[in-house]
Symmetry: C2
Subunit: 131 residues, 2 copies
């Protein structure tokens, strides 16, 4: 029974997927479900302040450390921590070294949200290592 | 700016959440976003065959091993692996020892799907360790 959902019914080895690319701030879609996408991204350094008008966003740190800057505080996150940024809330992810992060958000969400930036990754399905 | 989303804008330490309960097959909701829920569950042994008519379901293995039984094959999963079961697809999760799993699925999804069973956990928000 072939599924039309990208990434469905197959083992998704997150470390393997992450090893298949190196560029930062350029999320790869590894699966989709219920109109949402699971993305993997490598973060290095500082992103731009932005918010998403219509999308809540989940960050799950798989490796490294991530500082989630909010307008009123900074939340330090480490591997094994998750964090949800509700729609409309300004945030700026900062990775002091390198962080590997799983994102969960609605399909089509632009990573820079309302901020126009050359940092907006050319989001693409991570099909490189599929046969 | 208080958020109405459960678990939003706070660090969610997955290991800490998992350490706060021990019963198997009883998912705890640790966050919600975009009408979806992030749940943590401990699996031990064999679950029931079931499917979800209207919900795709993501399994992300955090610890241990999980065998995802499908009608035509068994997919072995280990920590760091994710797996998406599309709506309508029969599946039976089996954990030979103990597995800790993050689930992502639409809010309100019953874990036994179409199978009636005493295994249907009394899904509840994981507020025990919040102050």
């Amino acid at each position: 029974m072939p599924s039309r959902l990208h990434g469905a019914l197959e083992r998704i080895d997150l470390a393997e997927k992450l090893a298949s690319f190196d560029d930062a701030w350029n999320p790869r879609i590894v699966a989709e479900l219920n109109g949402q996408e699971v993305r993997l991204v490598k973060l290095r350094g500082e992103f731009v302040w932005h918010s998403h008008a219509d999308a809540d966003e989940l960050f799950l740190v798989l490796r490294g450390e991530l500082e989630m800057h909010l307008r009123d505080r900074v939340v330090p996150l480490a591997a094994g921590d998750a964090f949800v940024v509700p729609r409309g809330v300004e945030h700026k992810p900062v990775a002091p070294t390198e962080a590997h992060v799983l994102l969960f958000e609605p399909a089509g969400t632009v990573n820079t949200g309302d901020a126009s930036s050359e940092r907006a990754g050319s989001l693409r399905r991570q099909d490189l290592d599929r046969t």
